[in-house]
Every structure is written in structure tokens, then in C-alpha cells.
Symmetry: C2
Subunit: 418 residues, 2 copies
Amino acid sequence: MAAFTFICSECGARYRETEVRYVCPACARQQQPGGVTRGVLRVELEHVPERWPAARWSDPQTLASFLPVASSASFPPLPVGCTPLLPVARLRQHLAMPHLWVKDDTRNPSGSTKDRASLLVIAKAIEYGFDTVATASTGNAASALACLAAAAGVRAVVFVPADAPHAKLVQSASYGARLVPVTGSYDDAFELSLAACDRFGWYNRNTAFNPFTIEGKKTVALEIAHTLAPDPPDAVIVPTGDGVIVSGVAKGFADLVRAGLLTRAPRLVAVQPEGSSAIAHALREGAAAPTPLVSAHSVADSLVVGAPRNGLMAVAQVRASGGAGVLVSDEAILDALGVLARTTGVFAEPAAAAALAGLLVALEEGVVAHNERVVVLVTGSGLKDVGAAARAVRLPDPIPPRLEAVAEALDDAPESRR
Amino acid sequence: MAAFTFICSECGARYRETEVRYVCPACARQQQPGGVTRGVLRVELEHVPERWPAARWSDPQTLASFLPVASSASFPPLPVGCTPLLPVARLRQHLAMPHLWVKDDTRNPSGSTKDRASLLVIAKAIEYGFDTVATASTGNAASALACLAAAAGVRAVVFVPADAPHAKLVQSASYGARLVPVTGSYDDAFELSLAACDRFGWYNRNTAFNPFTIEGKKTVALEIAHTLAPDPPDAVIVPTGDGVIVSGVAKGFADLVRAGLLTRAPRLVAVQPEGSSAIAHALREGAAAPTPLVSAHSVADSLVVGAPRNGLMAVAQVRASGGAGVLVSDEAILDALGVLARTTGVFAEPAAAAALAGLLVALEEGVVAHNERVVVLVTGSGLKDVGAAARAVRLPDPIPPRLEAVAEALDDAPESRR
């Protein structure tokens, strides 16, 4: 089926699938510990289908024709993607944007866009003959790996910093993943996962290290473009942490332009929290490489990264798309979480709500215009982090079970919420 | 479009849509406070389509032809249903059941089967001209109402007992629902919601009171039957609290038999926790009516009801299907949660995992056989109650970031988990 070559996104070196597994060996020599990943590989398919698929995007045959797998039988037997692209009438009115859509990726099996990456990584693990896939992660990537691995019957091992939030690990553990809490930082967990894969013969899914994480995420762009065909969106708003999702989105549109299915790729807007903004800063300052932050923080925990591992590729691709980086405050993220839920019925985690917060900034800054065709990518479910959502709402005081008390309580409630 | 009549499930009286709103006025005179609902109405469509739809089940035109609405434009603009029916190869092997499926209703917009009911209730509220819909609930019904109401731009008011778990309310509040915590029991909240709807001119969505909650949930049966056509399942395993979901499932199959699209309806197995088992007990003891429990309790909070409000209809329908009631322990529910997640990648809340636990009991008791065609209905997402899932897994102790420690930790881990 889809034959392909790896191309180094830094030096342009080309490798056959059998020659290299994770990153460009030449560029990897410049790797700094805990820094952005050097030599991240892109997948170049020999042939991209020149027609839209007749079946749905979650169909294994469809996926196999657009993704670098040897067989459609390699995919785990759990539908991923094919999520709704919502024409959000009420949010359109609220924002005076008549051509706005929300891509609701909360509907994926483990509740986030990362399932798209894990679908492909597990398929490749099966094709390469691995029985175990490991990753370093504290959140959605771990859950996504554990979920798809469970469906496929592959073992998942997840390395986490020991101080990772307890609740975040329960979902992964429920899927049967082996959790390995590590006394140390995320970088320690990352390095240990690499060493363990080497030593025990496991496959590594680390984000922005395994090239199939980027390639898998491109399916969200394929679906968006197909739903809106023949008119592509003018801009896609993408919440950005380490830069893998935005690069996956760019790759999807690039494949479609190459196949002649799109005449142009949309501008990509990378949204980052003010406290975790290395990629957005690089984009705004004209720098090629993001400067790692000593300490990153945000209510949107899925976007918190000091050194965005896929920063080089993300900065280059957003810039090449004609897009931009925008910054959002934690307060704006929580506000956006409420606006999105109240106007569309989509309950997002803070990292995903950041996309809507970023759209507001992009409108103010003139990065997108009100009459453009714009898609907001909502990457993860609000049920992933109910604690954060609780900060955005006020739960009223109890009333006695009498009608008069109901009337009073409703009078007190702020009407402006709707 | 679909014209219909209400029929009282107790006395058989027939009413036109304009004559009655919630329950049979004659039978309602026998209503006991806090008891099972008397005079629950069934919807009888004048005409059920005699062909499977060409479009998907989430398509408004398709829904309108099978549901009692005046127009397909009445539905909220958020896809509900059309969830995967998974052929769960690994679980089939684990249970030696070659013809087993899991209906994954965790993929609904607010994460549970209750979205199917709210979709129809909001559509009817719009057709009747209500701008506000109220319900009494502590959990998934409230979230589902709030979610679909937000998408449609209808106001939602949710009456909850003041001691309802905080986290359960955050999702509803995030969707913009007005929460009204009531100092008192669920029954107090229920009665207050009825009084408030009367007084303020709101529409009431209370489960097993508004007849469209049952009718809306039937779509899950339509989808199951369509996916497996032409061979219907032999049995469907349904987690059961107040008896609305199991009645909705029965109604869906009944409609299809009436239309000639099915030759027979499957047996329904109602699964209840040992601590909240009024319907299952009535089924096992040959009683027509469930005896309300003084105090109900279970880890599966969505199934905890003292007096199952739709108990009369549920008992009659499960019995008529040739099915049975089965009881499961909290321990078995948590075990099943893990087995389901580890073998299928579907992360269920305890109430939903109870269905799988119930299948094991049904196999033991000879209620279903290993070689039958069986569907397990998974009604809600595990992300709804991560705290309960945490009770089913063990998070290991941290290790230092050294390979030797990884090897030791893996040796210690119980291999039996997969």
C-alpha cells in the first residue's frame, strides 16, 4: 500500500524506512538534553491519492491509502477520527463570524486528538513486530497510547514524572498500561523511556521523536478539508504545546495540495498560553528556533512545555503557511471554555479551549478576519480536567425546596451568561 | 412528518399529542410521593419507516422519520448517536463468545446514552415553543440536557440535591445550565422541578416522566439492529437504574418488528447493582412492580435509585422480551471496568461497566449462552467518574531514573493484568 521515504526536516537527508527509526542520525548529534528535538523526520508518501475517499475517514482502507502502512489490517480495531466539523450557528453569531467551524476532536476514543497519532504508531509497531510500545507523557498522549494498545492487544509502558497528577494516570492505568513513575522531571522520564526501549527492544512513541506521531495527526486536516471541499478554510486555529499537532495539521494540508485535492493550504494559527509560549514567541520575533523556557506553567496543562520538542518544524511550518503565533492568558482560556460549551455544547479541556481564546486574539490582531472561513480545532474533552472547568463556573448556594426560593435564586443569577 | 399517539403503559388509554404532556392523568391519581411513576406514556408512531435509512442515524432527516417530531429542523445542531458497534475481538476471545459486540455510547457529545433522550426532548421543547427546559438530576441526565440545550440555544435549569457530588455538577454548569441546589433529597428536587415548570411555564425533562426520554433512547436499538441486519442480536445487556434506558431499547426493537425490519426482538437483560436492585428483584421474583428500597447504594452512582421511576414499564418489557434481571456486586463492576478497558480500549463509568459484569452473571446463570449473538450496551464514559476508576487500578511506586530500576519494576508488576 502506501510506500514512503523519511526526510529530515532540518538537513533534508532522505532515508528508506529500513534505514532509520526515529530521528535523523546526522542532526541528532546536535541534540541538547531537554532541548527541542533535532532531526525530526517527515514522512513523504510515494503516492497520495488524487481523489477523496468514497468511504468514511475512520475506515481502515481509507486510512491505509493516505497513511504510511503496509496493510489496512495493521490498524487497531477502534474507530479514531471522523469527528464532527460543527457549523456552530450560535458561536458564529456571538463572534460575528459567518464562516466558522469547530472540529470536535473530543469525540475520539480516549477523548483527544492524540488518538490519531497512537492509531498510526500502534499500526507501525505491529508491522515492525514489536509487542510493547513505550512513551514518556503525563497526559493525553499516554491515555491515547494505552487506549489504542489495549484495543490492539499490544503492551503499553508509560513513563511519567512521579509528581504527575494522580487523576491523569488513572485513565492510562485503566486501559492496562504499565505505569512507571520516575523520581525526576519529564526530561528524566523521556530519557529513561529511550533507554528502556533500546534495552528491552520496545518501540518508542515519544512525541516529536517518533515521526509517525506527526503523520498520524495529519488525518484531522484531511477530514477538515474533505468536509469543506471544494473550498478550503482560510485559517485553522491550533492549540500548541510541543508543536506536533500543528505540524500534523500542516502535513495533512500539504499532502492534499500535492495530490491536487486542494489548491492552497490554509494559514495556521498556533495558540500558546502566555506561560508556555516558546513557539509563539519565536513566530512573533522572527526567530527560526524557539528559546526554551526555564519554567513553563498554564491552566492548560497539556500545553505546558519548557522546550517544545517539535519547535523547529512547527515554527517553520506555521510561518510558511502565512500564519502566526498568538498568546492567551489563563483567564482567557477559562472564559473561552465556558463560551464554547455554552454556545456549542462542546465541553473542552483548557488546552482545547485555548484555541477559541486564540481566535479572539487573532481577530483583534488582524491575523484572521471576521468574514474568513476559519476552523477552530478542539483537541481534548473537558472531562479530562473537570477541576480546571470548575474554576470557570460558580456553583450557586442551596435553596430550600420552595417555589419562592427558586424565583429568588433565578433573579440573582447573572443573565449575561447566555 | 412522524405523527403519533400517546398510550398509557398502565391502563392503555390513548391521547392525542395536544391532550396530555407528561403522564396519564387517570393513572397519575395513584401516584405515591417518591414512588415509581404511575401512568408513564408510550409514544406510538402512526407510521414507522419500512426501510432502513440510506443516510446515517445522526442525520436529522433520518431521525425525523423514526421519531415523533414535526420537523427535522427541530433537532439541536449537535450529532448524537451513530456510535460504534465494536466487534471486540479480544473480549470475544477472553469470554469465549464469538458473536459479542460492545455498543460504545461513551462517544456521545456529553459522554452518555442520555444525550439520545435530550436530543428529542429539546426538539419537542422547540416545537412546543418553550424557551426553558428543567430537570431534576445529579448526573448524566443533567449534563445531557445542558449540552443539547446549549447547542440549541434553549435555557436549561437543573435541580439537584444539595449534597450531590461537586464534580458531577461542573459539566452541567459549564454548558451554561442554571443549577438549583436544593436542601433535601432527590425526591425533593424532583417535586420542586415539577412545581417550577408549572409556575414558570418551563418544559420538564424528568426521566420516566417526560415520555420523550424513553422514545429518544430507542435510537440506540435502531442503530444496533441496523448494523447487525439482517440478523438481530439474541440478547442485549443493559445497565439499569430507573428503567428508562432498558425501556427505550425495548421500544426501538418493538418499532422495528412492527415495521417488518426485524423478525423478532432480542431478549433484554437488565443489570442492576446488588445495592440498587428493585427492578432486577421484581424480575427474579415474578413481581409486576418493583418494591422501592429504603436506601440504595453502589459504586455505579448513575444506577442508584430507591424507587425506579420507570420500574413498571421496565419490568413488563424485560419480561415480555424473554429476558431477565441480574445482580452484580460493586467489586464485579470495578473488575469489569478494567477488563473492558484493557481488552477493547473502551473506558466506561461504573454504571456502564456494570453491563459487562452483568454479562458474566448472565452466562453463569444460563440467561445467555456463549454462542449467542450478544450486545453489551456501554452507556457512559469513564472520564465521568475517574475517582471510581482509580479504585480499580493500582498506581505503582516511583523508581529512580535508572534502567535497572525499570527492569525490577516490571518484574514486580502482575503479568496477569493483560
